[in-house]
Amino acid sequence: MNAIEFIISGMLAAATPFLLAALGELVAERSGVLNLGVEGMMAFGAALAFIIVYNGGGHILAFLVAGIGGVLLSLLFAFVALGLRANQVATGLAIGILGLGLSAFFGKPYESYTIKGISKISIPVLSDIPVIGGLFSQDIVVWLAILTSAGLWYALTRMKAGLLLRAVGENPKAVNSLGYSVFALRIGAVAFGGLMAGIAGAYASTVYTPLWADGMIAGRGWIAVALVVFGTWMVGRVFLGACLFGAVSLAGIAAQTAGLSIPSQILTSLPYLVTIVVLGIISSNKRLLKLNGIASLGETYK
């Protein structure tokens, strides 16, 4: 398999942790809440899922529990940042530190253990196409993640719940005066973010690289937060961004396959550097950000 084929076939799976976490954060931010604890929620979910699969609980239970773990951390965030009106940035950082700590704490006995991943589902005919055929042979979670993206796009643009979510992000006061509970809507959105982050973590530790190592999330939660900005809070663009990062994170291995002699540190840094560069490019278009941005993002609502 050459480098290009390698990237094409692996891109979607590599993109899935970014995608799932970013979609969750997108919903939370759409409601006007900036939860920077994604990295921690992912790590916590990853640890829980690994422990369950390792102890024979199976992948379904593992994803479920990881999701619940993410939700619990996100509800803790909601209690402090929404209920008690604490600064959202600081609260998100606290959740991040706590989640990373908890994952290392519970994951400690499992350090560098491995488990079995899950098998791939290939779409007949399409997966036999040369070069891009690998794209159509993916595990079930990848397929579900793609479906989730489509569903979320539909919900946000076509359904009343989606309109309401956008409305509360733009002007929570007005939503309140229409008789909806701003808190209920936002708590729901934040919990969805937690659920998706937990699942993203589970995918990373039990399917994508089925092994446990402390710090294995390695900034992917933060890149997911950046992805939401890259995608200017739109599902389609976030999806494309996640694919880009999936490809970038495979570039290291691909480069080695191709026999290029680039220091491995540069390849490891690549996703972070790409984040910095893309963030600069997208953000400097202030008009674009303002047009698609969320008016009340990060502001405390009283």
């Binding site: 309109l163 002007n171 007005a174 005066s177 008009r287 303002k290």
Partner: protein
């Protein structure tokens, strides 16, 4: 007498120490256009929030069609048949008109679109259902709000200061709509502090003063002077006359200023020209959202013009287009902004620290360090000279009432002894006493030779203050009129845009 549609008995509501409403009784008859009259801070808005279920009363009872009810939320109010049009609209700019409606009214997009068009024709509320709200004028937004309320088939429609955002001619259109609604059996609760309006449209009026009901009258039986007296409890304060001044130096000049704002939701300015001389007050009239905030940002230096746009803003004879707010102040410019909390003052900081915001140039800084005793002295002087009611200079700005904070900010800016003073909405949300005091200060300052620019939505205020008036409409500024030579209606004509609001 028939059973009132809505009755309030002994309703009270307090926020901490502030008694917003005390033992209020109110009866709204079916088919009535009923005014709630009172000055800023009299408790009108709180009362409406209690009726609409946004807040719940501390004491008292609410009866709906003779039955005792507890209205716990706006959705319950809507179920009963109460609709409300807020002063600051509860619309979402990034959604379309029909999407906005669909948040409250059930139905498919097609059904709602048809219904919006139908209501528009029936009640003279024309609006395009598929356009985004951010592209609509203030008048159109109000129509969307009203349509949205009407689609729930209300028996009572509450309108909070609906005319404050409309030019005079559109006010007539609105009144026409309201009369049609009343004929079809919808009662209207109309909140206002504009007496002429109330006399022209309302059948009943309940007058509130500091949270108490001070009168229940038929407004057509009284003249505006008598109504005003009931509203403020004494005669209207006298104004001081502006004395004739010799033609002084040009302290501010904008020459054909055109500026496209970076913010896509902002109004861009086209070909704006104006000048303000010493000893003169120039008033800028216009309905809000026509470029006032953008003009204010450019004049204050909060937004700086790029160098390429050239010499467009001249202050005290010097081109300031590329200078920021601090640099413009050094030339003798002072500015009272529209928002008191968060712009003109930092709510969490003490008054002394808020003095520093702009008065630091008055020797309050020594070698980079703050001279606290001097700053406190400055603040005390300001509090005393401008009658700011506060425990002292250590009080946080956020704890002051709107009127007192405005007096503080106006005082601070005047104490900078400016050559050019710019005041954006001098008395917005300020009670009558403080408003009168602020206007008096401005005229005094003018009589001393200061050049003053005032932006206001209240035409009456501009006629009281200004020597000349210009009108801002959709980012364009009208020619200059001598206040003594024109009527408010002439100004009103310039406030309406060429096409949509006249239709």
């Amino acid at each position: 007498m028939t059973t009132p549609l809505l009755s309030l008995r002994g309703v009270s509501k307090s926020y901490g120490q502030v008694h917003a409403n005390t033992a209020v009784d109110l009866d709204v008859a079916p088919n009535a256009i009923h005014a709630i009259l009172g000055e800023n801070g009299a408790g009108k808005s709180t009362l409406m929030k209690l009726i609409y279920g946004v807040e719940s009363p501390d004491e008292g009872e609410i009866f709906w069609q003779g039955e005792k009810r507890r209205i716990a939320s706006p959705s319950e109010a809507r179920k009963l048949g109460i609709g409300m049009v807020f002063q600051h609209f509860s619309l979402f700019e990034t959604l379309t008109v029909v999407e906005n409606v669909s948040l409250v009214v059930p139905g498919t997009k097609k059904e709602l679109t048809d219904k919006i068009i139908q209501f528009g024709e029936e009640f003279g509320l024309k609006v395009d259902p598929l356009s985004h709200v951010h592209s609509l004028s203030v008048g159109e937004r109000q129509r969307v709000e009203i349509i949205r309320c009407l689609m729930a088939d209300p028996k009572l429609l509450i309108l909070d200061e609906p005319t404050s955002v409309l030019p005079p001619q559109s006010v007539e259109l609105l009144f026409e709509t309201l009369r049609r609604l009343a004929e079809r059996g919808v009662s209207i609760l109309f909140i206002s502090h504009k007496l002429e309006e109330i006399r022209s449209i309302c059948t009943h009026a309940t007058i509130l003063r500091s949270g108490h009901v001070t009168g229940n009258v038929s407004p057509r039986d009284f003249d505006t002077h008598e109504l005003a007296k009931m509203m403020i409890g004494r005669d209207m304060p006298e104004t001081i006359p502006a004395k004739p001044m010799p033609r002084g130096l040009k302290q501010l000049e904008l020459a054909n200023l055109t500026h496209i704002m970076e913010d896509p939701f902002a109004v861009s300015l086209h070909d704006v020209s104006l000048q303000v001389r010493e000893g003169e007050i120039l008033g800028i009239a216009g309905v809000s959202g026509n470029g006032q905030s953008e003009l204010a940002e450019l004049i204050s230096g909060e937004t700086v013009l790029p160098p390429s746009e050239g010499e467009r803003i001249v202050m005290m004879g010097q081109d300031v287009s590329t200078l920021n707010a601090a640099a413009r102040r050094k030339l003798g410019f002072a500015f009272v902004p529209e928002d008191r909390l968060g712009q003109g003052a930092v709510p969490e900081l003490s008054l002394t620290k808020n003095s520093l915001l702009t008065a630091h140039s008055k020797g309050l800084i020594k070698r980079g360090m703050v001279n606290l005793s001097k700053a406190t002295r400055f603040t005390n002087e300001c509090i005393e000279a401008y009658d700011v009611r506060t425990p002292g200079p250590e009080a946080e700005a956020g704890a002051l009432s709107g009127g007192n904070l405005q007096k503080f900010i106006v005082g601070r800016e005047i104490m900078l002894e400016p050559k050019l003073l710019f005041v954006n909405q001098p008395t917005w949300g300020v009670d009558i006493g403080a408003s009168a005091a602020i206007r008096k200060r401005l005229i005094e300052l003018r009589n001393q030779g200061c050049a003053i620019l005032v932006i206001s939505e209240e035409i009456e205020e501009l006629f009281e203050l200004s020597d000349h008036i210009q009108v801002l409409n959709q980012g364009r500024l009208s020619p200059r009129f001598k206040t003594s030579e024109i009527q408010p209606e002439d100004i009103g004509r310039h406030m309406i845009s060429s096409a949509e609001d006249v239709a």
